[in-house]
Subunit: 152 residues, 2 copies
């Protein structure tokens, strides 16, 4: 099994970071504008990625596996690219001084392939978007995300 | 063993990307301005990180283990944070259409710790700096790098 892991620190109260992770509106403001579904535990959120011209590039369905107020958000991917199905994204939060620390893991990849390396880089871009959203009020969700290679 | 892996695509000839990775001047233009030493195979490069006020934050020594023109740069870390010693950074290059694809790995971490997650995020930031350097002529090497948490 292979994991992508990242650490970011956000200068904001933990409750604001949690809100951006635990709600459909929050996710739509840093990951992809086309986020729909229900963010309650046991329900499914769909994230869709479009080109700037509005053409669909891809989508994922994720089951909200666990929510712990101001502590943890856990998604389990049930639809999307083959490599993502069965993987988990987990955000663990804690406070350190004036920062909220996000320990992020996209865990349980079957193997480390070139697409994993692409996704690792994209997660970093989206976590930066999350940081900017909470700190400044403005994220860069898809399709306004930074493009990092010829895949996206 | 744990690996950090990232993929970036740079709209530029492969030779320009290689030059930015295989020379002291190149590394100083995207990773840290304070890069010194000798970039020949078997020699050692030192990268030092300073605060904006000029105070040293940390440094690493890396042995240039392999250089393959327009294909590969391989560093082996011999000094620096304890977790880095004995690890390897490898950049594999290939062309795809008008992009040079960089497959990056910071390999052979003894374990995946919180500092690994921090470094994964920072490598993404510096690879973005490399991309910007080669595409636009301007990177953001330390101390002008994007800060991502309370550690750096």
């Amino acid at each position: 099994m292979t994991d992508i892991i990242h650490r970011v620190g956000i200068k904001a109260p933990i409750s604001e970071v949690y809100k951006a992770l635990a709600s459909v509106e929050g996710v739509a403001s840093w990951w992809t504008r086309s986020t729909t579904g229900n963010s309650a535990v046991g329900k499914t959120i769909r994230v869709q990625f479009n080109s700037k011209e509005g053409k669909e590039i891809g989508s994922m369905d994720m089951l909200v596996k666990a929510l712990e107020q101001d502590k943890k958000v856990h998604w389990h991917f049930t639809g999307g690219p083959e490599e993502w199905i069965g993987t988990d994204a987990v955000f663990n939060l804690h406070a350190e001084g004036d920062h909220t620390i996000v320990l992020f893991g996209h865990r349980n990849w079957k193997e480390a392939v070139e697409f994993t390396a692409h996704c690792s880089m994209k997660w970093a871009i989206f976590l930066l978007s999350l940081k900017n959203l909470v700190e400044t009020g403005e994220g860069s969700p898809s399709p306004d995300d930074i493009k990092i290679d010829n895949w996206n």
